[in-house]
């Protein structure tokens, strides 16, 4: 009787390990699949007039996790951690394809002489939280019109 009880216990432990391992592996795959990404985020700063500098970001594409049926919910461009462009998609029919936002008309305001890094944070319907999709290196706005 004791021997049989020991076998049952060992069996339960093995079943528990298998279930745990399976759940762990499944969780890893779900996390990996949920990660979207963007084409490179490239940008810089230029001087447009005396004491007037602008941030310019080259066109980029947000690659959503369309294989998993994801839809783009929103994205934000940040300069030094501060939002400079917030974008929301249609609430009833958000894009279910890789999305290329149209460039803004006047670029983004910046302070001359200051250094910036720009990053893109986005979220699609398979992302649990907004994720960093891309980031530029640090660049410096010109100080004055030559």
């Amino acid at each position: 009787m004791k021997h049989r009880g020991g076998l049952v216990l060992v069996g339960l432990v093995i079943v528990g390990l298998v279930v745990f391992a399976s759940a762990w592996l499944t969780r890893e795959e779900a996390d990996a699949a949920a990660t979207g990404f963007a084409s490179p985020i490239n940008g810089g700063c230029y001087i447009a007039a005396p004491s007037q500098c602008r941030l310019h970001v080259d066109p980029f594409t947000i690659n959503i996790n369309d294989g998993a049926g994801a839809r783009l919910m929103h994205f934000t461009l940040y300069a030094n951690g501060q939002p400079i462009y917030a974008f929301q998609t249609d609430v009833s029919n958000p894009p279910n394809y890789d999305y290329t936002p149209s460039p803004v008309a006047l670029d983004f305001a910046a302070r001359c002489g200051e250094s910036y890094a720009i990053n893109l944070v986005a979220q699609d319907t398979t992302d649990a939280n907004p994720l960093n999709y891309g980031q530029t290196g640090i660049f410096t706005c010109p100080a004055a019109v030559p």
Binding site: C45, H56, T136, P142
Partner: protein, 152 residues
Amino acid sequence: MRRPVRLWVIGVVVVAALGLRSAGAQPAAAATTVVYAGTLNASCYRAAPTVCKLEVAPYQVATLFGIRLEALQLQANGHAIWDFRTDVSNPPAGLYAPSPVALDFGAVCGRIYEVRLLADDTSQDDLTLVAQTGMVVCPQGRAEVYVPLVTR
């Protein structure tokens, strides 16, 4: 007898692979770091009676195989007017055409400019000159437009 022969063969293969690798790496390191493609053209125009702007025509830069573009900088008379950095985790490789800025670059009317393009890639530590324009002469500002207002 077999074992020493096998070890000798493995040793020869490893040495040959290392030799090929170092030989292959040499030209990439020694070659011109950023290959400039196309031409750099610029102009200066009067955007308002006393406001002048430098406009740089669209251009492209190309990096060699295996090298990625890290930075670009436009200078006017040696001073930066545009500082640009690429994505830190996925910088572009091959041909790259930066999009034109929206408001062009500030300039002083009547002044003469020489515009230069500098580039930096993963094979070097700093920006290097890759192209430059001839002398661009900005139109004279029409300050006289405001003179009657002052004298009134």
